[in-house]
């Protein structure tokens, strides 16, 4: 054979070998999972994916145990444009910020009809994950704020679960007068300057039909803001909520309700499992219902949950997007509901037979989650959140009046969101 032909043959052989091995090449995906949301169960979901996709290997990475610590970690890594992470789970308030910073890759290309794809989820999630028409993350699981109440006490005094805040106040006063228990709080909610305080402000505000941010622009209704702040302050002034409510964080509400010292509590879904635990003083005495509306308004809850995003610095974007679509599917949602008690992001999964058998209370949870609204979807959400929560805290601590708080809030918000 001539030298020329030999070379051609060798090159052809090399090309065939290379392409064959490329087809068999393994993709290693590193997924950042939140360690407070059962990474062991997510691991099983990853194992099932690996079984169906033998050329993909998934490793889990964790860092920090709270939304804040994890954001701190991810912010450092992403600001340094690190390519070690392919997929990351984000608190529902973060996708807009991450997308604006150029840290995530949109899903529109792989979703086909993005609008139709997002309609499968609970409506608020389409809003929370879409920025400028681009779908920047897909929901991992859902969460919302509930009104927990003491079934036994309401039954004892012949009261129906309240549908408006005024009814709640009346019910609380009636029970307090009858029970004469100094330790029994009428209503517990979050007044500490934490993220939850943003929800505290927005619940009545939304209930009045107002929005804080539409299309990235501020649509502040001062009257509604004053009314909202006044609603909570009045609870304190009337003795329905305790005087040091500005010290109360999410878990304080949970602990006090669990110890039997609270009649009505505003809290996330995690509290339910705790209330039914062995150490709980209120086991089987707890009811759950939509949050009350303002007079003449609609009930509104605060949307929670976490979302999956694909890192813009990943070296395996296509495989990563495929993985996320699997993770954000009804099948995975059902698996996580049954095995990790994570609320589903799909409406139908709530009433699925297997899910209802494993977590019966999800059927009651669905109507509440459906009233949930997304907190302002803007890249500068962290600044908006800081403004709202410090104002709520100052008003509840008695440092500012509701009017002063609303004025300040408006001024500060206008500077951030023109």
């Amino acid at each position: 054979m001539t030298l020329n032909n030999t070379i051609k043959l060798l090159l052809a052989g090399a090309a065939i070998t290379l392409s064959a091995s490329a087809a068999m090449a393994q993709t290693n995906l590193r997924v950042f999972v939140s360690s407070q949301h059962r990474p062991d169960v997510w691991r099983k979901a990853f194992d099932m994916y690996e079984a169906k996709n033998p050329n993909v290997k998934v490793t889990i990475e964790t860092g920090g145990n709270t939304s804040e610590a994890q954001a701190q970690y991810l912010n450092t890594v992403m600001t340094a444009k690190d390519s070690s992470l392919d997929v990351m789970i984000l608190d529902v308030i973060r996708p807009a910020q991450y997308a604006a910073a150029g840290w995530t890759v949109p899903f529109n290309d792989v979703l086909g009809d993005a609008g139709a794809a997002m309609k499968r989820y609970l409506p608020a999630y389409a809003e929370a994950n879409t920025v400028d028409g681009k779908v920047v993350a897909l929901p991992a699981f859902a969460d919302a704020m509930f009104l927990y109440y003491r079934k036994d006490l309401l039954e004892k005094h012949g009261i129906q679960p309240p549908q408006t805040w005024d009814e709640l106040a009346a019910a609380a006063k009636k029970v307090a007068a009858a029970e004469k228990d100094a330790n029994l709080q009428g209503l517990s909610f979050q007044g500490k300057a934490i993220e939850g305080a943003v929800c505290t402000f927005l619940l009545p505000y939304w209930s009045m039909g107002k929005q804080l941010v539409s299309d990235g622009k501020l649509s502040f209704d001062k009257d509604a803001a004053v009314k909202s702040l006044k609603l909570w302050k009045d609870f304190v002034d009337q003795g329905v909520a305790k005087k040091n409510i500005a010290e109360v964080a999410t878990d304080d509400t949970r602990k006090e309700f669990q110890a039997g010292n609270v009649l009505f509590a505003v809290n996330w879904s995690y509290a339910w499992g705790q209330f039914q635990g062995a150490e709980s003083a209120v086991k089987d005495k707890v009811g759950v219902v939509k949050l009350p509306a303002v007079q003449g308004g609609q009930p509104a809850s605060c949307l929670g949950g976490w979302e999956w995003g694909v890192s813009a610095y990943s070296n395996n974007k296509t495989e990563a997007q495929k993985l996320v679509q699997y993770l954000s599917s009804p099948e995975t949602s059902e698996f996580m509901a049954i095995n990790a008690s994570l609320l589903p992001q799909f409406p139908d999964v709530y009433t699925d037979a297997d899910v209802t058998k494993a977590v019966p209370w999800f059927a009651n949870a669905r109507p509440v989650v459906e009233t949930a609204k997304a907190r302002p979807v803007t890249p500068r959400y962290n600044e908006v959140s800081d403004i709202i929560r410090t104002t709520v805290n100052a008003v509840l601590a008695g440092q500012s009046t509701p009017e002063e708080g609303a004025t300040q809030m408006e001024g500060r918000l206008r500077r951030v969101l023109r």
């Binding site: 949301h37 964790t62 145990n65 701190q72 970690y73 964080a249 995690y270 150490e279």
Partner: protein, 283 residues
């Protein structure tokens, strides 16, 4: 002149007064630690009881069991300990050399150098986080002990150097000069004569460097995401839930993390310091 360790002649004398003072001192320093100790023996429910309880009503060791099983507490301790010891050793070595140069040798711009070293410590770590992350990544040092040892050394270098400079300056030169006349090199004189005499200063600098490393959270969180390399401050935050802060278990972890270290240091200090300074140097 005798260089015996001295106890100060204060205005107070007499045993009962001393015992009262001792009591005040111990309560002031130990109260939070004792509170943590008691909390580690309580159940969560007891913490929201009213009125609050000081001593546990039904002491339980369950929290300690959970502290070890919920998270790899011993691994956290090990990582923290290794990083702290190594960075303390490095800090002491480097700052002893630098302090000697600044205290003894005539250098132009000595004040400038001192100010520069102090200036280094005036930048809050959070602002240097991202560039440092990039440096460590470029050097391939992410997820190693060294990624933490180097910054921790720099963290403590200024304060240790300055403490040692002030101690070295307080030691008369004739002692090391006589050693050098006897045939010692300058460096030899440094380590055989000066350092032992400055033992209280060296020891204090060592404690400060050790605790600075022991405490640090931000860099440890960002540089070493590998669970096998987690240090104590980062590890303890893992006992929390998203909203929950289980004080009893975390107290147990804190007790396990703090007390042995403090006790070790105290024992070490008793031996080292009193041994070195009670001898006195003939001069």
């Amino acid at each position: 002149m005798s260089h015996e360790t001295t106890t100060n002649r204060s205005l107070l004398s007499g045993k009962p007064l001393r015992i009262l003072i001792g009591f005040i001192l111990v309560v002031n320093g130990m109260f939070p630690a004792l509170w943590i100790l008691f909390t580690s023996l309580k159940t969560e429910a007891e913490l929201t009881a009213k009125p609050i309880t000081w001593l546990p009503h039904a002491p339980t060791l369950a929290n300690y069991l959970r502290a070890f099983t919920d998270q790899p507490l011993l691994l956290f301790l090990f990582n923290s300990f290794m990083v702290a010891i190594l960075s303390t050793a490095l800090t002491l070595f480097i700052s002893v050399l630098a302090a000697y140069a600044l205290a003894r040798l005539q250098i132009r711009g000595r004040d400038l150098i001192l100010s520069a070293i102090i200036a280094v410590s005036t930048f809050p770590l959070v602002t240097l986080l991202v560039p440092l992350f990039e440096i460590m990544r470029a050097l391939g040092l992410l997820n190693t002990w060294i990624a933490l040892i180097l910054p921790y050394t720099v963290l403590s270098l200024p304060v240790c150097t300055l403490i040692l400079v002030s101690f070295f300056e307080g030691i008369p030169r004739d002692l090391e000069n006589s050693a050098m006349i006897d045939g010692c090199t300058r460096l030899g004189a440094l380590f055989k004569v000066v350092v032992p005499l400055a033992a209280p200063g060296v020891f204090t600098a060592g404690i400060l460097a050790f605790v600075n490393s022991w405490d640090e959270f931000l860099l440890a969180l960002s540089f070493n995401s590998n669970p096998m390399l987690r240090t104590l401050p980062v590890g303890i935050t893992l006992y929390q839930g998203e909203f929950a802060f289980p004080w009893p278990v975390i107290s147990a972890a804190l007790v396990v993390g703090i007390v042995p270290v403090a006790v070790l240091i105290v024992i070490f200090q008793e031996r080292v310091v009193s041994g070195l300074t009670s001898g006195g140097i003939k001069g």
